[in-house]
């Protein structure tokens, strides 16, 4: 039915894509599953039996804790994100645009840096509790975060954004005439909300809930720094690996993955089932102006306070990065401010090394992502072949798998030579980290490329062919230039995410290629807050620059591809 020559081309494009996915996504996952059935030299369900029947119940407790934290994270994030989405998209008041933009600021904070900021702000020696203590002359700090509450607050801070963004875009897609016709038919405000608006938003809310649940289950940095004695599954995997209980780590990885992937499947099923396409195209919601002055200024004040809370972590990192280490020991507040930390960062080779490592590692990984992403996406969007949904699923696996699991998968796959590593042992070498970053960001780059390729009408490619251009010429001169902005914005995002990547780094780094996130952890251990904050500032700046470039020059809302 299709043309032979084109079939052959599809095959040539598909083979490398499939090879990469099998070698670095499928095979490592299979290795972990196999490993989980190893016990005492035989193949058994023993590890799983141990997991559930273990006397100390540590694992079961950790699984329960993970679920518990995730459910709470969903509830709290929803409670913040949904009302905000409504207020910023349905009402007009002074400063609305600014507040709406500020609301996505938590995204500009890499997870490890964010957790660090929260420790400085609200921890035992944190600035806020101590300030309150001094202000009111209390004997002890009035509160401090840590354990469950700490994790929860950090999760709420970073994850409400997913609710905010998905619900905002759903609100803006509602055709105002739907609500207007309900009013016209005599419904009250209350009825319109519960019978028309809310049902139209449920798909978005459910999608965001599932997403936040998955991300919380996989969350590593927050528990790593804040959990104390509180055990969650993603962290248990790390501890098992550190203790050398590899089979246990494999079992825990499989169980955590099963939970995550079932949520992914559920999400896909739900989205396919409940997809209300709006009959008319996005008209943009009508915003009602708030006229009641009391209400208006309450909203503005809440907005201002909200923005302060949202930006406090960023400012804290900035502030701390200006405090030279060793000048802030017993005092409640720092007193010396200068650029010492940044000077060291650039001049002390030991301190500069991790930054350089991170940039190099991320650059290699991202270059891979760019080439692979464009190829995979082109094949998936523009070519027909049997087994497309299988390739689709392979591409999405790294998104569904918790980072810790991806790290473990790589350990099991590449701690021995095999054909996929060209006969080398990769674990313990330089190459394992770029590989990990590459795998982690396959879905992001492929999806952002898919989005632009789907926009590209097939007739553009056909026009070029009918004017006499061969496929490769068409691809280079027509398709690539058109999709490049979208591709680059996805790729840049992958780059900055790689620079900040912590969970796989902590499982796979070596001393000589340790990236920024590992060095932040080391500096924190040595109580060099300033130096750690300076590393953090660099990451924040990088992310901010990338988002700005994407918005300005590529006209792409890069933050959208994060969810």
């Amino acid at each position: 039915m299709m043309k032979n020559r084109d079939n052959r081309l599809t095959l040539y494009l598909l083979i490398p894509v499939l090879l990469v996915l099998i070698a670095y996504v499928l095979y490592p996952s299979v290795r972990t599953i196999l490993e989980s059935f190893h016990k005492d030299g035989g193949l058994t369900f023993g590890n799983y039996q141990d997991f559930f029947t273990q006397e100390s119940k540590t694992n079961l407790q950790a699984l329960w804790n993970s679920v518990y934290i995730s459910v709470l994270s969903v509830l709290v994030s929803a409670a913040i994100g949904i009302p905000l989405a409504f207020i910023f998209n349905r009402f007009d008041f002074p400063g609305r645009g600014f507040f709406a933009t500020a609301a996505i600021m938590p995204i500009v904070l890499p997870s490890l840096v964010g957790v660090m900021a929260f420790m400085f702000l609200y921890g035992e020696t944190g600035l806020v509790p101590n300030a309150i203590k001094d202000l009111f002359g209390l004997d002890e700090v009035p509160f401090k975060i840590g354990g469950v509450s700490g994790i929860l607050i950090v999760h709420a801070y970073t994850m409400y954004v997913y609710f905010y963004m998905t619900v905002s875009s759903a609100i803006n897609k509602i055709d105002p005439s739907l609500e207007e016709s309900a009013y016209n038919l005599g419904a009250s405000r209350f009825q319109v909300f519960w019978k028309v608006t809310f049902p139209l938003l449920t798909p978005a809310i459910v999608a965001a809930s599932l997403l936040v649940f998955m991300i919380s289950m996989a969350s590593f940095s927050a528990p790593f720094l804040l959990a104390g004695g509180f055990r969650v599954l993603s962290l248990q995997i790390y501890f098992s690996k550190i203790n050398g209980d590899m089979e246990v780590a494999a079992t825990q990885s499989v169980i955590l993955s099963i939970v995550s992937i079932s949520f992914l499947l559920f999400m896909r099923w739900y989205q396919n089932r409940k997809d209300y396409r709006m009959a008319s195209k996005g008209i943009g919601a009508h915003r009602s102006e708030v006229n009641n002055p009391l209400l208006k200024w309450t909203m503005v004040a809440t907005g201002v306070i909200g923005v302060i809370i949202l930006l406090l972590p960023h400012f804290t990192i900035l502030l701390l990065s200006l405090v030279p280490d060793g000048t802030w020991t017993w005092q409640t507040y720092p007193s010396v401010f200068n650029f010492e930390n940044y000077r060291l960062l650039l001049q002390d080779p030991n301190i500069f090394k991790p930054l350089k490592n991170s940039l190099i590692l991320s650059f290699i990984a991202t270059a891979g992502n760019l080439v692979f992403g464009v190829l995979a996406s082109y094949v998936l969007v523009k070519r027909k072949f049997v087994g497309k949904s299988f390739v689709d699923i392979l591409v999405m696996i790294p998104w569904a798998l918790p980072a810790t699991v991806i790290g473990m998968n790589l350990i099991f796959a590449f701690n021995e030579p095999n054909i996929f590593s060209f006969g080398n042992i990769l674990v313990g070498t330089f190459w394992i980290l770029p590989l990990a970053y590459f795998i982690r960001h396959i879905p992001l780059v492929v999806r952002s490329t898919n989005a632009v390729l789907e926009q590209l009408d097939d007739s553009i490619e056909e026009a070029s062919r009918s004017l006499g251009a061969k496929w490769f010429y068409t691809f280079r001169k027509v398709i690539l230039p058109i999709i490049m902005p979208g591709v680059l914005s996805g790729t840049l995002l992958a780059f900055v995410e790689s620079v900040g990547e912590f969970p796989t780094s902590v499982l796979l780094y070596t001393i000589s290629n340790r990236p920024i996130s590992i060095e932040i952890m080391n500096q924190l251990r040595m109580f060099n807050m300033g130096q750690a904050a300076a590393y953090g500032m660099i990451q924040i700046t990088l992310i901010a620059v990338v988002l700005l470039i994407s918005n300005r020059f590529f006209g792409v809302k890069a933050e959208q591809s994060l969810s």
Binding site: A463, L467, I482
Partner: protein, 368 residues
Amino acid sequence: MASIKIENVQKAFGKVIAVDHLNLEIKDGEFFTFLGPSGCGKTTTLRMIAGFYYPTKGMVRFGDKDMTRVPPEKRNTGMVFQNYALFPHMTVFENVAFGLRVRKIGSKEVKTRVHDVLRKVRLEQYADRQVSQLSGGQQQRVALARALVIEPEILLLDEPLSNLDAKLRDEMRSEILRLQKEYKITTIYVTHDQAEALSMSDRIAVFNFGVCHQVGTPSEIYNEPANDFVASFIGEINLLPVKVDQLDESRITVSAIENPDMNKFVVHNTPFNFSQSAQEGELALSIRPESIRILTEKADRPNVFKGKVEDVQFFGTIILVKVRVNGLLLEVNLLNHVSANLKPGADVWVEMPEDQIRLIPMLSGDAS
């Protein structure tokens, strides 16, 4: 330039057969139109000529060359897409130059040829514009220029005017015709608009459900439709299922399937009035509304019936009169100046001249 032969072509998409038993011969330099309702297989046929689909069965030739499986980039056809498919990242000049650069033509010649064709489509001063800054009609002309500049053997246009508003459409129609005559290029034009097809084409192929029903000049298609589908798709027509009562050398007598006693008609027995293809199967009597006459008093000629005016609609040049005759509703077009001030309810006589009636085959079911 080339003639095109399509021989016994079939195209199936899985179980859907988009085009079947297609045989066409398009002459060198001809303006040939594929006309038919949407989904009838026009685009599919055009894309087989362009090389984007390969036929499931049959053969496509340009001149004597078998092109059936030649890839699109080696066919030297110029194609204008419905949505124009201009390259959004290139200027007007670059868009038009694309096909020349692919052919590795020197930059000097590219320049002269591009400017040449841009002059012909009256866009010279827009050469350096980004294509997104052009209006719909201008984009259309860039698409035409881009297809023409490579001096293709065949120009293929897929509903090129459907995205334009009515006024621009008229303008582009003559523009396309002018360029086609100037380049003397074999052109295939796809449309579902019968007025467009009738006014522009040398010949038309009428499609329905993947089958070509008739090929002919516009006047052949209009005056001698091959069957009731063609008759009713192109222009207005009165159709009445009939059967033959009596057939002799010079005359045929037919009666309507419904109410046969009162509705008997006499038709000339010539190839025009009783086409060869109508000799077997079900028959329909057809007569165009402008061929029916309205009389104020009874005349002693065949096919004159008493009727009552039901409705009169004024269209300017013509007046549409609906007359009820023996239970049948006939549509009659009168030229404005002969209008005898007809009112609904008036009693009139209608004449269906025996040389204007045509008996044509009736396809079961899919007449619209």
